[in-house]
Each structure stands twice: as structure tokens, then as C-alpha cells.
Symmetry: D2
Subunit: 147 residues, 4 copies
């Protein structure tokens, strides 16, 4: 499992709830996006993005989300969810996620999210500030070292 998560500088662990399953008796597809969201928020905390939002009035907005389902999850299980930034652009960055099932010791799902940098004052997208770029680079450098 560590091998599957080694490229991800932020990893959270979540129990699968019985109520996460739907009538097909697998964890419902929407729950995987909740898993990715929780890992995304943990990543944002690591770079203190919320602090940055309050300081300079700029924050991320989810512009696109993707998930590829590899193994159906069922209760009981625990899931480790990793998040990393795989590219940064002028006004956006892309995150990759992985959800690893403890029960199976395998990847249950792979995800991606596109985050647009938004200026809440101007109510319009903004250039990605250097401080954000730097903080992401620092966190991701750490993960390279782990590798």
C-alpha cells in the first residue's frame, strides 16, 4: 500500500461507512468524489490555502472532476486517499488522487481535479499567485524526496 501512495504528499485515511453503499451493494460513485474532496481539503490545509484566501482574496474553484473506478468498494473497509498536484498553469492547477482499499491492498479508484484560481473581489479567475505556486512546489518536492 505504501508503494501505491508514495507519490502523494498528502494522504488521509477514511473508514467506509455501511451507509456509503447503494442498492447495488457497492460504495456509491458519489462517495469517491467525497473521498477525493477530503484529500483535496487536507492538501489545501498543508499549503494553508484558506489563510491565503483570507490574506489576498484568492481561492480555488473546482472546474472539473474525474474518477476511474477500478475495484468496487464494500463495507467494511478502510480507504487511504492520496492527493498531489500534477501540473500548474497560468490560472489553474491539476490534482491527481488515488483511493487505496485496505481490504484489497489495491487501488480502488484514480481521480483528477482541475482547480481554477479565483479572485473573489473581482469575481473572476485570476493569475496563479507565486506564493501559491511556491507552496505547492515545496509540498511536491517533499514527495519526490520520499520517492
Amino acid at each position: 500500500m505504501e508503494e501505491l501512495l508514495k507519490d502523494f504528499p498528502v494522504v488521509i485515511e477514511v473508514p467506509v461507512a455501511w451507509g456509503d453503499m447503494d442498492a447495488f451493494q457497492h460504495v456509491n460513485n458519489t462517495v469517491y468524489f467525497r473521498f477525493f474532496e477530503s484529500a483535496r481539503i487536507a492538501y489545501f490545509e498543508k499549503i494553508d490555502l484558506m489563510g491565503l484566501m483570507q490574506e489576498i482574496g484568492i481561492g480555488p474553484i473546482l472546474a472539473a472532476a474525474h474518477c476511474r473506478f477500478k475495484i468496487p468498494l464494500t463495507y467494511p473497509d478502510r480507504v487511504s486517499v492520496g492527493a498531489r498536484v500534477i501540473s500548474t498553469g497560468e490560472d489553474r492547477f491539476t490534482m491527481a488522487y488515488v483511493a487505496v482499499s485496505h481490504r484489497h491492498g489495491k487501488i480502488a479508484a484514480l481521480g483528477e481535479g482541475e482547480l481554477v484560481v479565483f479572485d473573489y473581489g473581482k469575481n473572476y479567475k485570476a493569475a496563479m499567485p507565486d506564493v501559491l505556486r511556491d507552496r505547492i512546489a515545496e509540498v511536491e518536492k517533499g514527495s519526490q524526496v520520499q520517492v
Copy 2:
């Protein structure tokens, strides 16, 4: 709004619940995938896919899901969600979804889902049966006529 939905042979209408919003005071990203799921199930009913599952032991499994968020939704609003099949392969088909905000009269989100045909007896993916291909073609033909 009809123009935005005209290519979709199956359209459902859903109220946005206050509780669909998260702490950022927009409808949470996972809820869009619930919208798409509801439209997908309505499409499956139109081609009686559940009946087919029981008859020949074959059914669809969601292999991938995607959403591009265009406008943040807020309560109160109503959403019309369209579903269509945009391609069929040897053992899978791809659906496209659109979620249209009544309040804005605009597309709130675009989605896609990849469905793999699964043989529950063999516990393995299966060739797409002709009857399923035919039923999809018939439903989609109807939508072309609407156009």
C-alpha cells in the same frame, strides 16, 4: 432551456435542496454526480435495462465518471438533467449528461460516464448484446427526430 436539452432523449427534473449546499454555500460537487446518476437510471429504465439484467444476467458497471462545472448552483433552483448515449463499443458505451439550471437558464454542468457491460454469471466484462445496442439506437434515434 429546451434548446440546451434537445439532444437528450431522457430528461429528468430535480429540485436543488438547501442541504445540497456545502460550507462554500454552493451545491457540493458530489451532488452533480447524483444528478447524473438519477438521469442515467432514468435512461436505463427507458431501455428496460433492469429487465435485461434479470433475463440475460448482464448489466452495466460505471467504469469512469467526469463532470465539468460551468456555473455554481445554489438553493433555491431546479435542475433539468439530460442523458444520452454518445458512443457504443465492443464491451462498453459512453453517456453524456447535461445539468441545466432553471434559475439561470444556462448549463450548470456537463458530464460523461463510461459504462462497461458486465456478465454477473461469469463475473467478467461481456460483449455488448445486440438487444442492448438496438434499444439504445432506438432511443437515440428518437432524440435525433426531436432535433
Copy 3:
């Protein structure tokens, strides 16, 4: 169905989503509280409670919630959910809810909620303002007339 809802001055209608069902293939118990919440918010809109919150800094906090499940709901169905205020106290009021299944033409669940009036400035519960008491009385009087 009208008979079942006649004492409720606020009634909303909600489709049951396929994804509301859990692994027991009934609508999950948490969803009933979402139904009641949606009806509660609609009631708050009717008495412009949000406006009142902004004007005088006072709002309701859910202190207790109760549900008695009468019939298991399944997809597909539509539910009409009624909300009314059944008692008002010094610093709180009690709402009653009913969820009526269209498919069965019967009550699916009965609920209650206790709302405490909260002063956001003092961060403490507050005496119920007369204006709130009056607005509730007016809405509830209307429902008596319907009867």
C-alpha cells in the same frame, strides 16, 4: 393525499432518487431528515426567517430531530413533505413534519424538530421575538382555514 397534508401550511414535493436507497434497498433513514430539512427551510422562507436573521441577528438552531418510519420508501416514488409549527415556547418552537408517498398514497414517515432561537451576537439562546411569533401564527392560521 390532500387529506394527509391538510394541516400543513407548507408542503414541498421531492422525487425519490435511486441513490437515496441503501444496501437494504430502501430509502436510507438519513434521507428522511433531508426531506424534513427541505420542508423546514421552505417554511422558514414563508415567514422570511432569513431576512429576520439579518435584521435582528437572531435565528433558529435545530436542537432535536425525530422521525417515525411508517412505510419503507423505494425508488421510483415522489414524496410530499409537509411542515407546521405545533407549539411555541419562551425561547423555542416545535415543528411537525409528514412525508407522504405518492406511490402508496400513505404516510411514509412522521417527524418532529425542536428549534431554539439563537442570538448570534450574544452567542446564546434568546427569547423568541414577537415578530417571529406573529409570522408563525399568521402562517398557521392560514392552515386552519384550509381545514
Copy 4:
């Protein structure tokens, strides 16, 4: 915290997800019922109720659910949720739940659930089987010993 949970023979621990919060920026009321459900299922596992369901075709149905909210939960936090059976009747039993916030070291919510014993073959409620009564007594005796 141990003191708060000592009467509960089954305790689970759950992280609060950012997405559990609603537009009022507190954990939404429906999530507490999900917490209680997860603890209830863990209790059912401890008495192997699912095994019993398959053996003798009898299982529990949630007839009523109640929650008293004591402290608003927010992300980030972790919650320990305890479940116990506080009474058994002819054809039903009552569970009590507690949700303890790690951040506050206090009770966030108290809950109760009424479970009716149901015979799936007869599609009607059934007398509570002795084996179920015995297993509950054994689990609850254990909790007394802890005290």
C-alpha cells in the same frame, strides 16, 4: 472522553469530513444519523445479527430515530460514536447512541433508535428470538463490567 463512552459496549471512531458541513458551516443534521447508523451496524456485527438474519430469516427494521444536538460539530474533528441497547421488548429493542467530539472532549449529540424485529418470510414483525436477546445481554453485560 472514556468516561463519556464507558456505558457503550460498541464504539466506533469517524473523521468529520469537510463535506459533512452545510451552508451554515456546521455538520449537517443528517450526518449525525449516519454516525448513529454506523455505530448501530457495528453493534449488529458484534452480535452477528447479519448471520442470524440469514439463518432464521429475521432482522431488525428501524422504526424510529431521534437525536438531540448538544454542540455543533465542525471540520476538522473526529467523533467517537457509542451504541448500546437500553431496553428489549416483545418484538423490538431500543438503542442509545452518543457522539463525542474529540476536539471539544464533550458530547456532541445523543441519539436513540427503535428497532423492530421483522420476519422477512412472513413480511411481518416477529417476536424477538431468544438467541438475539441472549447475544444482546452478553454484549451489554460486558459493558457493565467495564463500568
